[in-house]
Symmetry: C2
Subunit: 397 residues, 2 copies
Amino acid sequence: MAGSEYMVPGFRSAAAAAGLKKHGGLDLGLIVSDEPAGAAGVFTTNRVRAAPVVLSQEHIIRGEARAILANAGCANACTGTPGLEDARKTADAAGKALGVQPEEVLVASTGVIGARLDVDGITGALPGLVAGLSEEDLPRVAEAVMTTDSFPKLSRFDGSAGGRPYRIVGIAKGAGMIMPDMATMLSFVLTDAGISSLDLKKSVIQAADATFNRITVDGDTSTNDTVFALASGRAGTGGIAGKDLAGFREGLCRVMEELAVMIVRDGEGATRVVHVLVQGAGTAEEASQAARTVANSNLVKTAVCGRDPNWGRIMAALGRSGVSMEEGSVDIRINDVEIVENGLGKGAQAEKAAAAVMAGEETIHLTIHLHQGEHEDRVTTCDLTQEYVAINADYRT
Amino acid sequence: MAGSEYMVPGFRSAAAAAGLKKHGGLDLGLIVSDEPAGAAGVFTTNRVRAAPVVLSQEHIIRGEARAILANAGCANACTGTPGLEDARKTADAAGKALGVQPEEVLVASTGVIGARLDVDGITGALPGLVAGLSEEDLPRVAEAVMTTDSFPKLSRFDGSAGGRPYRIVGIAKGAGMIMPDMATMLSFVLTDAGISSLDLKKSVIQAADATFNRITVDGDTSTNDTVFALASGRAGTGGIAGKDLAGFREGLCRVMEELAVMIVRDGEGATRVVHVLVQGAGTAEEASQAARTVANSNLVKTAVCGRDPNWGRIMAALGRSGVSMEEGSVDIRINDVEIVENGLGKGAQAEKAAAAVMAGEETIHLTIHLHQGEHEDRVTTCDLTQEYVAINADYRT
């Protein structure tokens, strides 16, 4: 992966092995903005918030930041007041090493819950990180924050505003919406576009809702989920507004969508990406609720694992989702194959065709029409395999 | 299993192999009451209701019934108007064979969704079933309704009312709250006690809520879930009332609880039964919601499979459950081992002790105290294993 491909003017990065991961390797990443950058964040909705989430929510209120310090190997979650102090110490040390205020440092952690952070390991690695900062090393940060991820996740969008080109680059980690002792979803997005803090915040919330909040691997939400976006303004676009702002938002969505699908594709043990699209729902909430229920059904997910077009499980999930529906009005397609019409199966021929699609395609589209109204929504998930169970049963042992 | 152990005066049963199951074996059961019996039922809350559920809800309004006809191999769900006609034909045929009204026949089905019922196979087997009715053959009915179940499930309670002994016997099938193409939860409870239809109905609803509605294997709810209770009155207890009614309800709960735990123990691929008890919740609803969220978490269930006292996953599930909680107030015990106190882990020693308990005991008690109020609730589940995925991925193939 050529680092230059992911360069964003105004930002430098570095990664190090600080001894935080059980099996070694890069585990600490630092991203620095040469000047104060516009900053926005989206955080977990879990009531159990990890210490780095609590601290970064405090720091990001300023709407500006200079650095992101992120580690894998330890989530620093369920660690109480001492854990919050630990997070604060690492932000303080990073601020000191960079010559910026501690409040200008955002922190993120992922790894084992309940264990204390190795503050000395992190502060000890900081001088080397600062000395090694490079415009080309963002991919190494993407590698450092990996846990059960099988590949680093990066995405880029090139846009233009006010006649000036700009770039949005995002990195992410995550192979489950949650695995409290190993994973979490972290994503850091950098851009050299100029954009007001308020517009950046709105754009990030909107994009996260359309992308990261519409994927699920196991229906869980981590204590550590964090999205940071930093804007350096170095592209000279000036403050993006109007149509350019719409273009920026679309670019942000594309970057986050690509990262989101990478996370699902890398879902623990996953062999198929499944896009569940619910159409014709009575309300927007019902469309979302129906899609989410189908996407989180273990029985639907194991059927996909078995390449079995078992539409009865989809019907049953819809029936228990709590949304308005009539059995006799439901249509279901698997990719291009109509498998249910008016609530009834289309027969053995259709099932055979659908099974062939599921065996042959890595991306499955389950399209459900409820014929109750005009609303639609989608959720992307993956199949549930024996490998998922093996990963999650055996990890700490 | 000695059939006489499960005899209930006033009832006779029979089972047959009607060719409905793919791999053969008993698949059709008939339970007959010599006289009209008081009857009550509890049915699935899924909006997609199988034909036998629709028909039996219609029939049971009378508060009396003479027979239950139950089959495995085909759920007769998502079969539309023709499916409802099929269910009606089998009830009609059973009524004719027994010399009773069709409305006095309750029906229940479990098996593949979307497939039409083999009406001829069932009606063809009826004369043999009626000829073979015996007081001792209830265990054979329990066997006939099995799908992925690995053992038939029967439970008995002996009580007395008005100085006269009576008996409650229940059978059940189910190895998942749902597997729409193979399983479902069915339970039939017979008693010779005398009890008014209204009291029977209230008692069954209450007992089902306390037992069957508090187990989960995979968080799903079948299209076919059905509980029937029939009371013959043959024990000569007269109409049970007052303290005797409380005793009857307790007996009913005991029978259903024993069956419910058998279902979880037989959960597909399960190696551990897990009782999740949430105490100190702010409201009854929050106690239930918190227990349900923990019990349905794939990450908690895979941790149990791995004998890993991974309390971080329990904290994270509580945090996303939507109930009022403060991280620093949560206590968690695994059987007798305190593993979390005031939101913090009790250390390596405690984890080691808890891991030993999880490895050594087949029944795991996760006791969670939220310290928010006085309400408690419990949900029983099982671990999530690779075998679960194998069963559900590979079944139809």
